[in-house]
């Protein structure tokens, strides 16, 4: 029996290894040579110019010394492949993932804590914009260091503002004002269908789970209670509900169905079908690539329900570098991560990706020479006391999925915001309870291990 069980687990390991080989290793090659430096494998999710920007940094690092060689490899669906590679015992030494991956990876013991290594290299909280250090930490340990950060803001089309008789330099500041602007920007076709709108919640639907933030709401209490149906969150989704009520559910669905892909010239914002969108610092790159050459745009903090008491609300996030558990060269891996986190290198990377820096210190020329004319808006938003991150929950993917589904129910006109949020709250409380029970079971052993690493 014992042999059978052992064989079972050997087979499990073998099959995971085979899967990882099939999924992830194509295209990666190791630098040969008997006296070669330590080769560290670095998996990153970026492609295109973002990948090119990191390739420059990797090349600089490889040229700067001869002890470590970084083997840089772009991997699609990196979060899933990293999970399988780590389970199979063959993770890369460094991986570039999203900050929202940290809680679930950390609690599943898939990451190496960086506290001692960071302290040893003089990397401290004070060097970073608050929110980004917080994002890299979980359960009182540091798990990652940032690469390129993001924040989101209101982006508007100045030409459409002008055509509707609005001041193109004055964006709306409150949600009420946003609705007022929208009414002035709405256009109908002769057959009565919608031709253009000022704003439509859910275009695109990337932030449908976070509308509560601009109404002062929180999605959980930070410990063990889900608060998806708290009054502030409910107010946000009642605002979402007001759009299908005002314009008709079928009308809005048909209108949205006609939008092209985000990364294309048919993007509803670039074609002028929507005059205002909630978007991140990356929008500048998409405008450059896909919008008409004479496209005029502006960026400002997204309106809130109460701008006097709740100004400059944003959701901040960042791409991060982690060392997976079981990495073969954690010391060398951290040396590379620390190199990326030095001010000069970080600014070069962020400039290459047209983003702002997550570090507190910023050289005078960085913002002045930045190609994105509104980079300061995004950088300042990330520093705002009202900047928030996606909830640091291991169950966030499920929670977010439920909220996005709640929005589709609300938009269909068949379910009220109250009912939809009540359902989400009930279901997610059960999911969180299960997750907390799992954490309670594994935490004594894990926290000991992490403290000693």
């Amino acid at each position: 029996m014992k042999t059978a069980v052992r064989l079972f687990f050997h087979l499990k390991r073998f099959s995971l290894l085979a899967l990882v080989c099939a999924l992830g290793f194509a295209g990666c090659k190791e630098k040969p040579g008997a006296n070669a430096p330590v080769v560290i494998k670095y998996w990153e999710k970026w492609t295109g110019f973002e990948s090119d920007a990191m390739q420059v940094i990797v090349n600089d690092f490889n040229a700067s010394q001869n002890r470590i060689f970084v083997d840089y490899c772009t991997v699609s669906q990196i979060d899933r492949k990293l999970m399988l590679a780590t389970a199979g015992g063959v993770p890369p030494d460094v991986a570039g993932v999203w900050s929202e991956n940290i809680p679930v990876y950390a609690e599943n013991n898939a990451l190496t804590p960086l506290d001692k290594r960071a302290a040893g290299a003089g990397i401290t909280r004070e060097k970073y914009t608050d929110i980004f250090w917080k994002i890299c930490s979980h359960r009182d340990h540091l798990w990652a260091l940032p690469t390129t950060p993001t924040s989101i803001a209101l982006i508007w089309n100045k030409k459409l503002f002008r055509a509707a008789g609005l001041d193109p330099e004055r964006p709306p500041k409150s949600i009420a004002e946003l609705d007022e602007y929208n009414r002035k920007l709405v256009k109908y076709r002769p057959d009565g269908s919608l031709e253009a709108m000022g704003f439509i919640p859910g275009e695109p639907n990337w932030f449908d789970s976070m509308w509560g933030c601009w109404f002062g709401g929180k999605l959980w209490d930070g410990e063990k209670t889900i608060t998806a149906d708290a009054p502030e969150v409910l107010a946000a989704y009642q605002w979402v509900e007001s759009y299908p009520k005002r314009y008709g559910s079928s009308q809005l669905l048909a209108f949205r169905d006609g939008f092209g892909n985000f990364a294309s010239p048919q993007n509803a914002f670039f074609t002028g079908r929507v005059a205002m969108v909630l978007q991140g610092v990356w929008i500048h790159n998409f405008i450059k690539n896909y919008a008409p050459p004479d496209f005029e745009w502006g960026a400002a903090p997204f309106p809130t329900a109460d701008p006097a008491n709740l100004p400059n609300v944003t959701i901040a996030g960042c791409d991060v570098l982690v060392i997976p558990a079981g990495a073969r060269h954690p010391k060398e891996a951290f040396e590379f991560i620390a190199y990326v986190n030095s001010q000069k290198v970080m600014e070069k990377l962020c400039m290459g990706q047209r983003k702002f820096t997550p570090l507190r210190d910023c050289s005078p020329g960085f913002l002045a020479n930045h190609p994105n004319p509104y980079i300061k808006v995004f950088a300042d938003l990330a520093k705002s006391p009202n900047a928030t991150a996606l909830p640091r929950l291991t169950t966030w993917t499920q929670y977010s999925n439920d909220l996005v589904n709640a929005v589709t129910r609300i938009q269909s006109g068949n379910t009220s915001a109250t009912e939809a949020l009540h359902d989400v709250s009930q279901r997610q409380q059960q999911v969180l309870d299960r997750s907390l029970a799992r954490w309670k079971r594994v935490s004594p052993k894990l926290t000991d291990e992490w403290t000693n690493q």
Binding site: F8, L11, A87, S250, S412
Partner: protein
């Protein structure tokens, strides 16, 4: 068993060993490990912890699982008969001895060569509520009906409206009936000519010959396609996954059991729960296949065997 029998057995086993090895490692092992993990709290990265039937108990109270299951049953209930009707009708038409029949057969088979992902992207645009070809075709017809009857029928927002989304996927599935058509066609060409000739002498028309000769003779083929369609319908994944961008569709109308299984395994880190969904799906397909076999026993004709 004689020495020669034993030698034959050894040689036989040796020759089928590649298949046996593949079957054991790629079918039996995953099935058994799936059963084991369905009884565990398992996130792939943490060691599996035995939790008994907790996953199954949670499944029975999980409203999203029931929604996914009802979507899958709806899809199977309409996609299988509709697919069979269309593919069988096409096969019968393509079996006519008309000039250019080879060209027609190629034309109807070609769409099934389109990869699933391309098919999904293509139909995403065909079914687009505002710009799609389907609605461009429907609008003048609906407008005519509205004009005549004073109704206010509108072309549906196929993939954005929960009432129509599954129908969109069902119609998309019809695009790939080419494989079934080829199998039916092969069956129809095996029907003995003398049966038709006898029927002709008796004065049977086309429908009599189809109902009383063609369909009974090809009943094993119909049975085979039904079982394959049943399995395929319960495993529907790629097309709705691509069409919804990996999401659940409006009001979870396009969330199928396979998609929910995938989400739990790879998005939510609940591999144990995903394995439990997999086991339930396995049992459902097994039960329905068994039921189909039993129900069709008296209606499938195996040339007198």
């Amino acid at each position: 068993m004689t020495k020669r029998d034993k030698q034959n057995l050894r040689m036989g086993l040796l020759f089928i060993s590649p298949w046996l090895l593949g079957f054991l490692t790629l079918c039996v092992y995953p099935l058994l490990s799936s059963l084991f993990y369905s009884l565990c709290d398992y996130s792939v990265l943490s060691p599996a912890v035995y939790v008994g039937t907790d996953n199954y108990r949670d499944l029975f109270t999980d409203a999203v699982f029931w929604k996914a299951l009802s979507n899958t049953l709806f899809f199977a209930a309409f996609a299988i008969p509709l697919g069979m009707l269309v593919s069988l009708s096409l096969a019968i038409l393509l079996n006519f001895n008309v000039p250019g029949k080879g060209l027609f057969r190629v034309v109807f088979f070609l769409p099934s060569l389109v990869p699933m992902v391309c098919l999904a992207v293509l139909w995403q645009w065909m079914l687009n509520g505002e710009l799609g070809l389907i609605n461009n075709f429907l609008r003048p017809i609906l407008s005519g009906i509205n004009h005549l009857l004073g109704t206010s029928l509108a072309a549906p927002n196929w993939l954005m409206d929960a009432r129509y989304a599954k129908w969109g996927i069902i119609f998309t599935g019809l695009w790939g009936v080419g494989h079934a058509v080829v199998i039916y066609l092969a069956g129809l060409q095996d029907v003995p000519r003398h049966l038709y000739e006898s029927a002709d002498i008796d004065g049977a028309n086309f429908w009599h010959k189809t109902i009383h000769i063609s369909l009974p003779v090809i009943s094993p083929v119909i049975y085979f396609n039904t079982i394959m369609g049943l399995i395929g319908s319960f495993q529907v994944f790629a097309v709705p996954y691509v069409m919804t961008g990996g999401g659940d569709g409006p009001e979870r109308s396009l969330l199928f059991v396979s998609t929910y299984l995938y989400q739990n395994a790879f998005d939510y880190w609940n591999m144990g729960y995903a394995c439990a969904i997999g086991m339930i799906l396995f049992l459902i397909i097994l039960a329905l296949t068994y039921a189909a076999t039993k129900l069709s026993e008296r209606h499938v004709y195996y040339a007198g065997k």
